[in-house]
């Protein structure tokens, strides 16, 4: 539908920037750029981060799959493997718990004046990404190949229509959020 727009590099860079402005504004207003809020989530005492993420997932999922159904959008699921998604994910988690920000919220934290995010977090993530570029040729042929499943989505893996996953998943997520509120978290 917006094929011509997708191909315009200059316009896309501007759109990317504007999306980032709104994204950063929302993350900061949500409190997700605060170390205390993120660590509170990981210590399971403050569920703000999960509430933001899960309501984004429910809203986004319904809209994006509706757009796809109407032929107005294409999905871009990332490829993965157990060796990449799970091992890499657990390493990420260790860093997440130590740093107390993630790559997106660390940038928002810098903007609010958090100097640990700038001189520790951002510098560290750049070093970590650079080190990964060094390790990549070996990891790509080794660990990251374990249990490769490509760009599969959950409905594809289960051989069911997306609606059959979306409806129960939204129900479970909304139920979980409702439960968290009801027990005062």
């Amino acid at each position: 539908m917006f094929k011509a727009l997708h191909a315009k590099r200059g316009s896309q860079l501007i759109i990317g920037f504007l999306v980032g402005v709104i994204f950063g504004f929302l993350l900061q207003k949500g409190g997700a750029t605060r170390y205390d809020v993120i660590i509170g989530q990981l210590l399971l005492t403050d569920f703000t981060v999960l509430k933001v993420m899960l309501s984004a997932v429910v809203t986004g999922m319904i809209g994006v799959y509706a757009l796809k159904g109407a032929g107005m959008a294409q999905l871009h699921p990332k490829s993965g493997s157990f060796g990449s998604s799970v091992i890499g994910g657990l390493i990420f988690g260790v860093g997440f718990g130590i740093l107390g920000y993630c790559p997106g919220t660390v940038v928002g934290a810098v903007a609010q004046g958090s100097l640990d995010a700038l001189f520790g977090g951002v510098v560290g993530i750049l070093i970590g990404a650079g080190l990964f570029a060094v390790a990549y040729p070996k990891l790509e042929k080794g660990f990251m190949k374990i249990g490769d499943f490509g760009e599969t989505t959950v409905p594809q893996a289960l051989h069911v229509s997306p609606q059959l996953v979306i409806a129960p998943l939204c129900t479970v997520i909304i139920g979980l959020l409702y439960w968290l509120e009801s027990i005062g978290l």
Binding site: G89, T105, D116, G124, F132, A133
Partner: protein, 173 residues
């Protein structure tokens, strides 16, 4: 316009807003919101300053060339957007040590800086190993129902919860 000056919005409003923003990125840009690839590109740009054009020969930088793209601009915008939000609520303040860290570990700047640096290196390495972060996998990938993203997002939180619990309940107790 009082709501723009509020320090915090409901997490559900913020989450729904991010969800709607995702519709727009799929529609207008055929892309999903993500952040950590830009760190890899920036690392490549910095390496290029020191090592020159041969950086491009690295397999990883052939996959993710060190250039400014849509997502890189998104991260730049994120910085501005968060700044606008914090200035509107009058909460901008330079701070080396976050309150929860200070309460548990004290106000030593070096200790917090070193911890953040080490955590940053690990999360940066892990984000690229997993092929995404809390944004690209945790929000954008899970909403597309990608198997890789659900596994990664669950792993982020398992690793994060265990690590934070060990740090706060064992080391800093």
């Amino acid at each position: 316009m009082e709501w723009l000056a509020m320090e915090r919005w409901s997490p559900y409003v913020v989450g729904a807003g991010i969800g709607v923003l995702s519709w727009l990125t799929f529609l207008l840009s055929d892309k999903a919101i993500g952040v950590s690839t830009s760190f890899a590109r920036t690392a490549g740009m910095i390496e290029k300053l020191f090592a020159g054009a041969k950086v491009k020969d690295k397999a990883y930088y052939q996959k993710f060339p060190p250039v400014i793209d849509w997502e890189w601009m998104l991260v730049l915008g994120l910085l501005l957007g968060a700044y606008i939000s914090v200035v509107l609520s009058g909460q901008f303040r330079l701070e080396w040590v976050p309150p929860m860290w200070a309460a548990a570990a004290g106000t030593n700047i070096f200790a917090r800086w070193l911890t953040a640096l080490v955590g940053g290196i690990i999360i940066g390495f892990g984000a690229r190993w997993a092929g995404g972060c809390t944004s690209g996998h945790g929000i954008s990938g899970t909403m597309q129902l990608a198997v890789s993203s659900w596994l990664a997002a669950i792993s982020f939180f398992i690793g994060g919860i265990i690590t934070a619990k060990i740090i706060f309940n064992v080391f800093l107790k």
